[in-house]
C-alpha cells in the first residue's frame, strides 16, 4: 500500500523532487498538479490560524489504493500520486498534493479534478480549524 500521509505541511522541495523524479519517464507528455493550501477563513470575527488533521490511517490507505485503481481504469494515465498532511498545518501551508501524469493533456485535467473530489469525500481524514484565539471548530467540506 502506497503511503499518502506526511507529517505537517507538504514542503515545496518535496513537490519539486516529485516533478524531477518523473523526468526519466519518457512516455509522459503532461503533468497536472493540484495543491490545496490552508486558508485564513474568518468565522464570527475569528481567524483560522491552522488546521489540525487526523485520519483513520489504515482505512485511508485502503481507500486511497481503491481510488488509485479506479483512476487508472477510468483515465489513460502513466502515474498518479496522492499526498495529504497529518497533524498541524499553519495557514499558507500545503495540505494536499495530487500529481497526475499522462501521455497527453486532456486526461490529466479530468483525472486531477476527479481525484481531489474522491479524496475529499471518500477518505477518512478529519480537519479541525484552529483559530488565532486557540478556539477550534471541526472543518466541514463544501
Amino acid at each position: 500500500m502506497k503511503k499518502i500521509f506526511l507529517e505537517g505541511a507538504i514542503p515545496s522541495e518535496f513537490i519539486a523532487d516529485s516533478i524531477a523524479k518523473h523526468q526519466s519517464k519518457h512516455s509522459i507528455g503532461a503533468h497536472n498538479i493540484f495543491l490545496g493550501q490552508v486558508r485564513a477563513d474568518e468565522v464570527d470575527g475569528k481567524k483560522v490560524s491552522a488546521i489540525e488533521f487526523t485520519a483513520y490511517e489504515e482505512m485511508a490507505l485502503e481507500k486511497a489504493h481503491e481510488i488509485r485503481e479506479a483512476a487508472f481504469e477510468k483515465f489513460d494515465l502513466t502515474c498518479l500520486h496522492i499526498y495529504h498532511s497529518l497533524g498541524n498545518v499553519a495557514v499558507g501551508g500545503v495540505c494536499i498534493f495530487v500529481f497526475v501524469s499522462a501521455p497527453r493533456r486532456k486526461q490529466v485535467y479530468e483525472a486531477t479534478e476527479w481525484l481531489v473530489n474522491q479524496v475529499k469525500t471518500e477518505v477518512p481524514i478529519f480537519g479541525k480549524e484552529i483559530f488565532e484565539n486557540e478556539e477550534s471548530q471541526w472543518k466541514v467540506n463544501s
Partner: protein, 78 residues
C-alpha cells in the same frame, strides 16, 4: 471482544480514541445504540465502518470476535 475506534468530533465526545467492547452475541444495532447512548452521540453526525469498510445498513450485520468498528464523523480532508 471487538475493537472500537473513535475519530474527529466523535473522539472528542467520547474523550478517547478507542476501547475494547464485549459483544457476546449481541446484534450490531444494539452495540451501536449502547455506545451512542453511553457517550451521548445522538446529535452528532457519523458513519460506521466495520473492518475498514463503511456499512450502510448496520442492522443486517452480525459482529465477530476481533472485528474493528469505527465511528467516523463527516470526512473533511483536502
Amino acid at each position: 471482544m471487538i475493537q472500537v475506534k473513535y475519530f474527529g468530533m466523535i473522539a472528542e465526545a467520547t474523550s478517547k480514541e478507542g476501547e475494547e467492547v464485549s459483544v457476546s452475541g449481541k446484534p450490531f444495532s444494539e452495540v451501536l445504540s449502547e455506545i451512542s447512548s453511553k457517550y451521548n452521540l445522538g446529535d452528532l453526525s457519523y458513519q460506521v465502518a466495520v473492518n475498514k469498510k463503511l456499512v450502510s445498513n448496520p442492522a443486517d450485520l452480525q459482529l465477530n470476535e476481533g472485528d474493528e468498528i469505527a465511528f467516523l464523523p463527516p470526512f473533511s480532508g483536502g
